[in-house]
């Protein structure tokens, strides 16, 4: 079987996935998506792209559009464009988690800057403002009062992208100084770690210096992780959870999951589990 691993920034994860693909006996290759030029106005065959593809581009829109093109060529892509779309937009993820009755932090959307104070009044302070697209904790901001929130909104209004002029506001969940990252490959939880925020930081993202420590999730958490993964369409995912006073909350599902941090704290090979799942998708 020929597996094409698509990337736009080659990291440890992509190299590890290629190595595990080869260990599993498939012909795995790395393909830089930035160099692709694809004719899309007529149906095309997937010449040179193998039997299935693993989408690892870190640019959300590049991953989404390329996956849609490849799917149009009848190529199986993991994750699918639908999953990429669902996870790449925090509003869509929240809608799907809510629809599946999965506990998630209380969230409001204000479609104009003028209605942000109303959403804030409903949520109370402190609250968290997040961009709807983007990751690594970038532009995720904590507002402790109305004045701070107003300043954050004014700054956002200066951005050119009109999507940034709609506001995703979330309750600030009182939790220990850590959150939970589960790496999911199909029906398997490949790894589960606590991510501890570094000193002087409230965000736990590994990209922000968060430290990972493996643990075995209890049954309740396992069930929530599986349900959250299914709610967005399933695949190779990073499901993020928090321990609130009222129980677990799922706050994010990532479609191009980074697992270097989790692997450093985990004994089993995460890329091996991912590759086994991906190859099983190619056999269907």
């Amino acid at each position: 079987m020929q597996l094409t691993i698509l990337f736009d920034r080659l990291r440890w994860e992509e190299k590890a996935l290629k190595k595990e693909g080869e260990n599993e006996g498939c012909e795995a290759s790395l393909l830089d998506a930035k160099g692709l030029v694809l004719e899309v106005s007529t149906p095309r065959k997937r010449n040179g792209l193998g039997d299935l593809a693993l989408q690892r581009c870190i640019s959300h829109y590049r991953a989404l559009y390329l996956t849609k093109i490849l799917e149009n060529m009848s190529l199986e892509v993991v994750n699918s464009s639908a999953v990429t779309e669902n996870c790449g937009n925090k509003l869509l993820t929240t809608l799907l988690l809510g629809k599946a009755r999965i506990p998630t932090p209380k969230t409001y959307i204000a479609l104009t800057p003028d209605t942000v104070p109303q959403a804030a009044e409903a949520l109370g302070f402190p609250l968290v403002m997040k961009p709807m697209t983007g990751s690594w904790g970038r532009m995720v901001s904590l507002a402790r009062d109305g004045e701070t929130l107003q300043s954050m909104v004014e700054l956002r209004e200066q951005l050119q992208n009109p999507a940034e002029h709609m506001y995703y506001l979330q309750e600030f969940v009182k939790r220990p100084p850590r959150d939970i990252r589960a790496v999911v490959a199909g029906d398997e939880i490949a790894a589960c770690v606590y991510r501890y925020a570094p000193e002087g930081e409230w965000r736990t993202n590994v990209a922000r210096g968060g430290i990972s420590k493996a643990f075995k999730p209890d049954e309740e958490l396992q069930e929530l992780i599986h349900r959250a993964a299914q709610a967005v369409g399933g695949g190779v995912l990073g499901v993020d959870a928090m321990e609130s006073r009222d129980g677990y909350l799922i706050h994010e599902v990532n479609n191009t999951v980074e697992f270097k941090g989790a692997q450093s704290a985990t004994q089993g090979s995460i890329p091996r589990k991912i590759i086994k799942y991906v190859l099983s998708r190619g056999k269907k």
Binding site: R9, R11, Y61, G88, G134, W136, N254, N255
Partner: protein, 57 residues
């Protein structure tokens, strides 16, 4: 396989087993480069893309 930074002339260490697409950075100024080609055992570099709003997991 070492080379020099186009920005500051500082040293860039390029591992011998580097492959096309990998990112290397200047030890002095931190500018990142992407390996665009390996020709005759020499890694050719181009400036790496900078972080965009939609980058992430």
């Amino acid at each position: 396989m070492n080379t020099k930074c186009a920005e500051c002339d500082g040293p860039i260490n390029v591992p011998n087993d580097v492959i096309v697409g990998e990112i290397v950075s200047c030890r002095d100024c931190g500018v990142e480069y992407e390996v665009s080609e390996i020709r005759g055992g020499v890694a050719l570099l181009k400036p790496a893309e900078t972080v965009e709003e939609d980058w992430g997991e």
